[in-house]
């Protein structure tokens, strides 16, 4: 089965730049040790975002890439913009661009359709960047490996997802024996009521 998705190169770069702004490869402090942690792009999360954006009611990946370039142009001092401009910015400048977009500090009438003069859609799309990146990273999505681009019903979990390792999540469970009794029981309340 072959992936049905085709994205322009600059759109791919811009979505990589989003994921890298939100979850970059990092050294994190964990139990007072420093630990290396792979970023979202190492798990191909930019593809998850693109697939998701193309499964909205109307495909939105290309327009969203343009939206990022135009917002970057109005947020970061630059003489001109071009396709993929957003992806050339520093991580701070990219986050600043997202914040400007979220706060509607860009000329709304100059944005590509359907974002043009559509503040609620813009805000919801900014939320989607953050939500999808973190949900994709910490859910099992990366474990679908070569089936990631398949139609959702044909994906297969082929390895233990890295996000689960980082979160200390053991994966789906049949059950746990951590039963510590009941603080209340319905039958006791019924007794109370009848007295």
């Amino acid at each position: 089965m072959v992936s049905k998705y085709k994205w322009s190169y600059t759109t791919q770069l811009n979505f990589m730049a989003i994921v890298d702004a939100i979850l970059p490869t990092s050294l994190i402090r964990c139990n007072s040790n420093l630990q290396f942690q792979y970023g979202g792009n190492d798990l191909s999360l930019w593809k998850y975002l693109l697939i998701s954006f193309d499964n909205f009611t109307i495909p939105l990946s290309e327009q969203t890439s343009q939206l990022l370039d135009i917002s970057a142009y109005y947020t970061i001092p630059t003489p001109y913009t071009y396709n993929g401009f957003f992806s050339t910015l520093s991580r701070d400048a990219r986050l600043k661009t997202l914040t400007a977009l979220e706060n509607l500090q860009v000329p709304l009438d100059l944005l590509p359709i359907p974002y043009q003069n559509n503040p609620s859609l813009i805000k919801n799309i900014v939320d989607s960047f953050y939500l999808l990146t973190s949900f994709g990273y910490y859910s099992e999505w990366s474990g679908y490996l070569y089936t990631r681009g398949y139609s959702p019903s044909y994906r297969k979990l082929t390895c233990f997802p890295l996000g689960w390792v980082y979160a200390g999540y053991p994966g789906p469970s049949y059950g746990y024996r951590d039963f510590r009794g009941f603080l209340l029981k319905m039958e006791h309340l019924h007794k109370e009521r009848n007295h």
Partner: protein, 562 residues
């Protein structure tokens, strides 16, 4: 075409209950559902092949198919766009069903038999009496027998204690709150969740049984997958979490009088002007979501149970009589999330465990009730949803101000990774606000945006200043409890106001429907979903109240028309 006496639109939290009740009374019922039917032999590949048209046989339910579908993977199940539990057609290669939002936020609902109870947490508290009495056309006392019937049938039992609940009870007590030992809540305090989840199997701690064996036995296994869709139990009708596809639906099928038609979207109510009764409902127009074929179906009574967004949409798209409250008065409990992160050494002395274990036990096994302000759900959810709802969903970037003992706003990068590295030491508190009903919050339709079922819903919600004040006070209660329990770090997410999870009161009793849940302006048209709630119940989860009303409505339909 077979003749039915009652057609019900929507097999979710309300519709399945009406179907079972009417089936037991001997009426021939057709239950229409827009989404798929998981765990039914007539749809062995529910997301990729159209399967049969309908099923009315209890033997069609298949536990093996059910467990195959409900695989507990959060991306597979909960992804809002292509997940099995999404708001869209069964075929996941097709896009979602569209909604247009006037304000920031989104809706989180499921299509399919079971509706949004497929991903609900099973939380089944009653409404707060002060939010019913003198506010609804019906009194709290009137509701009690119906609550009792729903509680017995689901059944509802208080959640067992696991590590995360024990930690919360410790914090709540230390913060000065008392245990509420009641179902009828008139003061503030903490208690275990009254949940529509079967009690744990008595062998749960018996090591002679493996966890896998336990997952095929009756009773909750504390596996922590309520929100992902619970698949544990020996048969479909004995699944531990009592979503309506495993509780009221099998009971409805057992009557032999109920036929269920999934993959069928109802886009219009058919009415006639009757000499004696006036305008009355006589049928529906539906569309098969696989083939696109349209069909008209007729019955003596119609029950709308499509949820608080689609029910008003259906009314408006059917050009039913004008009523200034149709779609108006929308409430959503103006939710927010507060998360505490604990230190392993402290935890060991408090709960005898080095971690909180958020993935163990009921997704929400404990709650805080505060009549007049709302409620707080104590939760632990799978890691992808935790990162999204605790740290990513926010209207502001993270900041910690000098006087506050918590961080507010969205986390990214290293900070987000460090918080998530502490996932096992995380406790979530969902703020569920008693938000005010106002006419300016609504579900309408937008004539310029249509899908295959007509103009799509248009949603507008802005909380009142009173609702915002209550949310703030509840947030403070949650932070105080987490601090009292020993949390080393607290993060307040600051969600957008337009998060639609508990969606209620858009077809309010007393305004759009009467005391009997029958439309004021259309005879033989009843409503049985969260839309008829006259308000947001003071901040109690809505499902049990809708189910209690559904039982009541079914008896009224039978009495008045059959």
């Amino acid at each position: 075409m077979k003749n039915y006496q009652v057609i019900i639109i929507g097999a979710g939290g309300g519709g399945a209950v009406v179907a079972k009740e009417l089936g037991e009374l001997g009426l021939k019922v057709l239950l229409l559902e827009a989404g798929p039917w998981y765990g039914n032999r007539k749809w062995p590949f529910p997301n990729t092949e159209k399967g049969a048209i309908s099923s009315g046989e209890l033997q069609d339910l298949d536990i093996h198919l059910f467990k195959q579908t409900y695989n507990k993977m959060e991306n597979e199940m909960n992804d809002l766009i292509v997940g099995k539990l999404r708001w869209g057609p069964a075929n996941r290669d097709r896009p979602l069903w569209n909604r247009v939002y006037e304000k920031r936020g989104f809706t989180w609902q499921n299509s399919g038999v079971g509706g949004s109870t497929q991903h609900y947490l099973g939380n089944s508290p009653r409404a707060y009496p002060i939010s019913i009495d003198n506010q609804w056309p019906i009194s709290y006392r009137d509701l009690i027998p119906f609550y009792e019937k729903a509680e017995a049938e689901l059944p509802v039992e208080f959640a067992p204690t696991t590590t995360k609940e024990e930690l919360y009870y410790f914090g709540a007590k230390k913060a000065g709150w008392g245990l509420l030992s009641s179902l009828n809540i008139t003061s503030a305090g903490f208690r275990p969740q009254p949940n529509a989840i079967l009690p744990p199997n008595s062998q749960l701690t018996n090591r002679a049984y493996s966890e896998y064996e336990l997952s095929w036995m009756e009773g909750c296994t504390l596996a922590g997958h309520c929100i992902n869709g619970c698949p544990h139990g020996p048969s479909v009708d004995k699944i531990a979490k009592r979503s309506t596809n495993v509780s009221y639906t099998p009971l409805a099928l057992a009557t032999g009088n109920v036929e269920i038609m999934p993959n069928t979207f109802t886009y219009q109510i058919i009415t006639e002007n009757h000499a004696k009764e006036g305008i009355r409902a006589i049928g529906v127009k539906v569309r098969n979501t696989w083939t696109g074929e349209n069909q008209e179906l007729f019955a003596d009574c119609i029950v709308m149970a499509a949820g608080a967004i689609e029910t008003p949409r259906l009314w408006l798209n059917s050009l039913l009589p004008k009523n200034e409250w149709v779609g108006r008065g929308l409430t959503n409990h103006n939710m927010d999330m507060v998360t505490g992160i604990f230190n392993s050494i402290d935890l060991n002395s408090i709960v005898g465990s080095h971690s909180v274990r958020p993935n163990v036990g009921h997704t929400s096994g404990a709650r805080f009730d505060y009549p007049g302000l709302g409620s707080i759900l104590v939760m632990g959810i799978s890691p992808g949803l935790t990162s999204s709802f605790s740290y990513a969903l926010s209207t502001v970037n993270a900041s910690t101000s000098g006087n506050d003992n918590y961080t507010k706003g969205r986390m990214v990068g290293k900070e987000l990774m460090e918080l998530m590295a502490n996932y096992q030491n995380t406790l979530n508190m969902l703020i569920v606000t008693d938000d005010e009903v106002v006419n300016s919050n609504y579900v309408s339709i937008t004539p310029t945006v249509s899908d295959e079922h007509g103009p799509v819903p248009f949603i507008n919600y802005v909380p009142t200043s009173n609702s915002l004040r209550k949310k703030k006070e509840l947030t403070k209660v949650a932070i105080d409890i987490l601090r009292a329990a020993g949390a080393k770090k607290v993060v307040h997410a600051a969600w957008p106001d337009g998060m639609m999870i508990h969606i209620m009161s858009t077809m309010r009793m007393g305004y759009v429907v009467d005391y009997n849940s029958e439309a004021l302006q259309v005879k033989r048209l009843f409503i049985s979903d969260n839309s008829i709630l006259s308000n947001g119940l003071g901040g109690a989860n809505p499902t049990l109240t809708t189910q209690a009303l559904a039982i009541r409505t079914a008896s009224i339909i039978y009495r008045n028309y059959f």
